[in-house]
Amino acid sequence: MNDKLKIVVLAKQVPDTRNVGKDAMKEDGTVNRAALPAIFNPEDMNALEQALRIKDRLKDVEIHLLTMGPGRAADIIREGLFRGADGGVLLTDRKFAGADTLATSYALAQAVRKIAPDMIIAGRQAIDGDTAQVGPQVAEKLGWPQITYAEEVLYIDDNRVTVRRRLERGIEVVSSPLPVLITVTGTAAACRPRNAKQLLRYKGARTVSEDQASGSEYAASGKCSEHFQIPEWGFAEIGGDEKSYGSSGSPTKVKKIENIILQAKESRTLSDSDADIEGLVKELISSHTIG
């Protein structure tokens, strides 16, 4: 147990697969992934809100975002800081590329060990894969209990946390000792908006790579030290078994990808005229489809 209750929120930057509009479709009917905006995974937002609510209640709470992805995923850390988090880490390394859920969990668990929190809160699943695997797998790697499908943290003290879970047909309230990993569903409370004070404080938050990319003049001016620096961790920082990362640490392999193309089948187009609708109803009745 830390002096403060330390919470890690796992968050992922995802393509917005829910809004595949006409502009995101290629001429052959497949999706142009590059045209989809990168967003904060929705259920990870719900997770952040649960962490912030614990902080509202207990005061001595520190919230750290942890995300894995390419350099632009630093946006996730910034968004978390704007909404009330205290810090964050971007896990980024070419060695982590091509990871399935298991190799992703391995990397996240290694980073969590270094942060040493008392609790992890994550979204139940990310909308680009919908697997819901990473949360439980991180918990297993750490040897922690897990509470999935959480809707609300009801009660928390130094030793235990009580959580309401949303199941298919009802609810369940469970109590777990700390440390514990919790995954939150989209039915939980929505995340609060950005906080003006936090926004002012962290608007210049950047990673070292972003500073370097923004030009040597800026970097040389010494202004870098004035803003909040988002740590970037790679294999060198989190260590572990090199073969357990990325594609070599992934048991599953993608054999084939097929793009969905909507196929037209033999069909009849009808109007809303009385004749068309009555004709259809009579056909359905005579074929015993209805009636």
Binding site: Q137, P145, R169, V174, S176, I260, V281
Partner: protein
């Protein structure tokens, strides 16, 4: 050894449909692999369910029956499953993609360093070539990904078991004409469970009876965002009532609060295959159609002639649902006996 093990979930003392659907699928897979299907049954007072599992082809029912296992809890269930898989070395392990299966299976796969594919819509056996190496009889784990815009075939060449979860209603459920002569293999729960497995406590449970059953309905009338309001959804209910069907909804309609979540059809909802599916004011995004395109007959009502739903429909009615639905009801009442 090296058989297929299906994790069989129970609910209120009954086997879940999804588990029986997986048993049925596992029989097909086992036939092409020349191996057996076995069931893993964990709970309290569930011994009597073994007979039903024999009628679905279980050669062995691995049984963990203990008061402490009355309700699902991750740690004790995972310890038992991991221990069994280490001993039995199944080549394939299948779980329902329920709140239980999606909690348990990833925990087990992490401990065994095996792969896991979530929410498969199809499972097949086939070969795989990877660089110089040839693999035979792998499990093809086929699932939509990327919001349903692609279909991915996943294989797990080197690690066992090959694990997959499948949603309820995706596979067909069919008992054998005559049960197999199966047997129970008792799991020694006391030797597996540690005190640390039992630290999470269930404080309260409120499980509602299953009221809405769109999966079992022969006729489904589904509304989308185009219905416009919760009040206007009454029109959908009226047509469903008239035809003796159930009401479904697209994700957009559920998100907008027009219909209950239990009615949601699509990749993130229920998969249905009724005799007749009437789609009202639904555009027909692939996330939705993945959950209904196996319906025997599809009638689409949408005022947009370009709506994708019309492309998969047998009868595409281009028109306002507020005009078409009352006419359907009127003409049905006039013409049915």
């Amino acid at each position: 050894m090296n058989n297929i093990i299906v994790y069989c979930e129970t609910d209120g003392g009954r086997l879940c449909d999804v588990s029986l659907e997986l048993m049925t699928k596992a029989r097909d897979l086992a036939a092409s692999l020349s191996c057996d299907v076995e069931a893993l049954l964990i709970g309290h007072d569930v011994r009597g369910l073994a007979d039903e599992l024999y009628s679905y082809g279980a050669a062995v029912v691995h049984l963990a029956d203990d008061k402490r296992l009355e309700f699902f809890r991750t740690l004790p269930y995972a310890s038992i499953t991991i221990d069994l898989f280490r001993k039995e070395q199944p080549q394939i392990a299948l779980f329902g993609a329920t709140s239980v299966g999606r909690d348990l299976a990833p925990r087990v796969s992490s401990a065994l360093h095996s792969g896991l594919t979530a929410d498969c819509t199809s499972l097949e056996i086939g070969d795989h070539q990877d660089k110089e190496k040839q693999y035979h009889n792998l499990l093809y784990q086929i699932r939509p990904a990327f919001g349903g815009n692609i279909i991915a075939t996943i294989v797990n060449p080197e690690h066992r078991p090959q694990m997959a979860t499948v949603r309820e209603g995706v596979m067909k459920k069919a008992p054998l004409a005559a049960p197999v002569a199966g047997r129970i293999s008792e799991i020694d729960v006391n030797s597996i469970l540690k005190d640390s497995d039992l630290t999470v406590e269930i404080v309260a449970r409120e499980i509602e009876e299953r009221k809405i059953d769109i999966k079992g309905a022969q006729i489904i009338v589904a509304g989308g965002f185009g219905v416009g309001s919760k009040e206007n959804f009454d029109l959908i209910f009226e047509l469903a009532r008239t035809l003796g069907g159930e009401v479904g909804a697209s994700r957009a309609a559920v998100d907008a609060g027009f219909a209950d979540h239990a009615r949601q059809i699509g990749q993130t909802g229920v998969t249905v295959r009724p005799k007749l599916f009437i789609s009202c004011g639904i555009s027909g995004q692939i996330q939705h159609t993945a959950g209904m395109d196996q319906s025997s007959m599809i009638i689409s009502i949408n005022s947009d002639p370009e709506a994708p739903i019309h492309k998969i429909a047998d009868y595409a009615i281009v028109g306002d649902l507020n005009v078409v639905i009352p006419k359907l009801i009127k003409f049905y009442k006039q013409n049915s006996k």
